[in-house]
Symmetry: C2
């Protein structure tokens, strides 16, 4: 084993790993996954290219790390509102919270929509986001069921899709997109 204590090693490694993940997120988000080279990630992380491969097995493994890193930041929030939704007020809070999350971490969600329809990484993408997505839908399905909706599953899927569409539009159009007005109409129609 190393002369350094395991704790020290672990700490250093984690710090550098975090740096790499944040550089990768930034570049993937700005340039797109396919157009970001491992070299450029190495430079931005102030790590040699070869050393990247001591932290991640390859480019796709690094992408997986970036996605997990981003998702974990929201785990708390989601556990909070994964308790069932009963009132329209709670619904509104959840929806507004959803968009606050997106606004507070645009880079991550830009990457998310960049990968959404990329056949190249579809398997990885599905693996990571499917459980997340299903949890989302299940909560809304229950909400509409309680409200006596005639097809809660379809309505929940419609809402999920609408949230995707609005987020995508906002992230791509930027400030041209009147996000708050659109959110108000969405809450009006779906609550």
């Amino acid at each position: 084993m190393s002369p350094r204590t395991e704790k020290q090693i672990e700490k250093l490694k984690q710090k550098k790993e975090k740096l790499i993940l944040e550089s990768a997120l930034l570049l993937f988000s700005e340039k797109g996954y396919g157009n970001t080279s491992m070299q450029s990630i190495a430079i931005r992380s102030k790590v040699s290219k070869g050393n990247l491969y001591n932290y991640f097995e390859g480019k796709e493994d690094l992408l997986e790390g970036v996605l997990m890193y981003g998702l974990n930041q929201f785990a708390e929030y989601f556990n909070e509102f994964s308790t069932e939704l009963f009132t329209e007020k709670e619904f509104e809070i959840a929806i507004r919270g959803n968009f606050e999350m997106i606004q507070s971490n645009k880079k991550f969600w830009k990457l998310y929509y960049n990968l959404f329809a990329q056949p190249e990484v579809q398997d990885l993408f599905t693996k990571i986001f499917t459980p997340f997505f299903e949890q989302y839908i299940a909560i809304f399905e229950m909400y509409y069921k309680n409200k006596g909706d005639n097809d809660p599953k379809a309505t929940a899927l419609l809402l999920g899709s609408a949230l995707d569409g609005v987020s995508l539009g906002y992230l791509l159009m930027g400030d041209t997109y009147p996000l708050n007005n659109v959110i108000n109409q969405l809450i009006e129609k779906f609550k």
Copy 2:
């Protein structure tokens, strides 16, 4: 002049160009734009790689050709319903028509959503689809204005985004996505 008449040349060229465009659409749609090589398009088109460049100036020019080719197929339809929408019945027909279009040309729309968030080709994408998108929104904005909606612009944008979201979900999830049920709920909520 050429020994062959211009007409003959033109006819041959058009036929081959169409073949190339259809091969490119297929491959771009299946593999993604970035992961499709000019070589593979050449092979599928039964044309040499070099000859591709007699038809299109480069890969991006070929993509532009594919997008225009796909969009032109819908020009008729759009001119038809670009006359204003007044009744809920007309609205419903327009929405259902929209999804029929998507279902009848999945490859094209899969490519559309593949390119949606690709920084690499964003300029081209914007150039081609912005007028198309704005026309779409303007019609719905007028519809909601006539209905006395309190924020017709935002509602139209919300609808456009919802249509995007639903299309995207359907194209990516395939038959798992209960498209017809979701469309019914969408019409219910937005009409």
